[in-house]
């Protein structure tokens, strides 16, 4: 029971975190926490099979799906928390509170009586018990869910699949377009330099340098720029080096021949 009292607050906080997080990724993590602690609770409730399924299927697969789609859709789309529909937030909280109170106070008390526990049901193992039920009375439901899963998979594929309306752009096309664009707009036909070229580092977040020393912002991937994680500390490196090679004020020969190359 102690597990419950430890996990319950965590779960509630995580749930609130899910709702209140600014960034979608944080919300996803909170949800993961909730799911895992739920799994533990299942174990505490004498449902080891569900414990495993929760961890593997639910948190492992479905949560990952969410993260995957978040990545696809753009993790950076943090929606502003300002409310557009007039009175929506207020009403939502009011109705929510009311529902919660009613639920907790009334339904909570409704359940009385001793807990019979699952010892004899899990006599020869929880998975065995569930399997007996699953392939006994619930076999039809089981088959139906399989059909459901198939259709869901096909459906998702159909939805996400985009018909190729335009013929695939071959390499020849790409080069011809690049040259035309260069002619018309003067845009450099070649690929943008990869980050880190001629720069102090070859890390992904360090922009490449132009011959005159200015950084090239388009060399860093857009998502890093959007997230503001582009290393720009390039100027201080230059200063350090400049200071390092700065002749002492009173330095002699190699540095005071400024007159000869005018």
């Amino acid at each position: 029971m102690t597990a419950f009292w430890i996990l319950a607050p965590i779960m509630v906080l995580a749930a609130l975190g899910l709702v209140l997080a600014r960034k979608a990724v944080h919300a996803a993590l909170c949800l993961a926490i909730v799911m895992i602690s739920l799994a533990v609770l299942y174990a505490a409730q004498g449902a080891p099979f569900l414990f495993a399924v929760q961890i593997i299927v639910y948190t492992g697969a479905i949560m990952m799906l969410f993260l995957f789609v978040l990545m696809l859709v753009g993790v950076e789309t943090s929606d502003s928390l300002v409310e557009t529909i007039k009175g929506q937030r207020l009403m939502a909280t009011v109705v929510g509170l009311l529902f919660g109170i009613v639920g907790v106070l009334v339904i909570g008390q409704a359940v009385t009586g001793a807990v019979t526990g699952l010892d004899e049901a899990n006599a020869n193992g929880n998975p065995y018990g569930i399997a007996k039920l699953l392939f006994g009375p619930y076999v039809l439901a089981f088959e139906l869910t399989s059909a459901l899963l198939i259709t869901a998979a096909v459906g998702a594929m159909v939805l996400a699949h985009r018909e190729r309306l335009v013929p695939r752009r071959s390499q020849a096309d790409i080069s011809r377009d690049r040259m035309r664009e260069y002619a018309e707009t003067g845009r450099h036909p070649g690929n943008p330099p990869t980050p880190g070229v001629f720069a102090r580092h070859n890390a992904v977040d360090t922009p490449a340098l132009l011959p005159d020393g200015r950084p090239m912002p388009e060399s860093v991937s857009a998502s890093l720029v959007a997230r503001g994680q582009v290393r720009d500390g390039f100027d201080d490196d230059v200063d350090d080096i400049a200071k390092a090679i700065e002749p002492p004020p009173h330095a002699g020969w190699p540095f005071d021949q400024e007159g000869d190359d005018q």
Binding site: A15, A92, G96, G103, V111
Partner: protein, 97 residues
């Protein structure tokens, strides 16, 4: 036993409010998942209360359905994103008189 039900009810309500308040489609979707998990918790708790495994089987089925639903839901969100470049729920507001 009642504390499990209370916890599930709290999670369920938070999930519901989350659905109503958040504007990002994916977060809304996650809140729905939270609500489903809350119900699973209640199911398991009751199965233990009554001493038979039906609750757990129901929870199992809920998980299956949730999986199918997430797949299709996310596919829809992706296709909306791809056409509209946005995932906020309020953008798709043409379905009105």
């Amino acid at each position: 036993m009642t504390e499990y039900i209370t916890l599930s009810m709290i999670l369920f309500t938070i999930g519901a409010v989350g659905v109503l308040v958040r504007r990002n489609a994916i977060v809304v979707f996650m809140c729905v998942e939270l609500m489903l998990n809350a119900t699973n918790l209640a199911l398991v708790a009751f199965s233990r209360q009554h001493g038979n495994l039906d609750g757990q089987v129901a929870a199992f089925f809920v998980m299956v359905v949730a999986a199918a639903e997430v797949v299709v839901g996310l596919a829809i969100i992706v296709s909306i994103y791809r056409t509209r470049r946005t995932t906020t729920v309020d953008e798709a507001s043409l379905l009105k008189l």
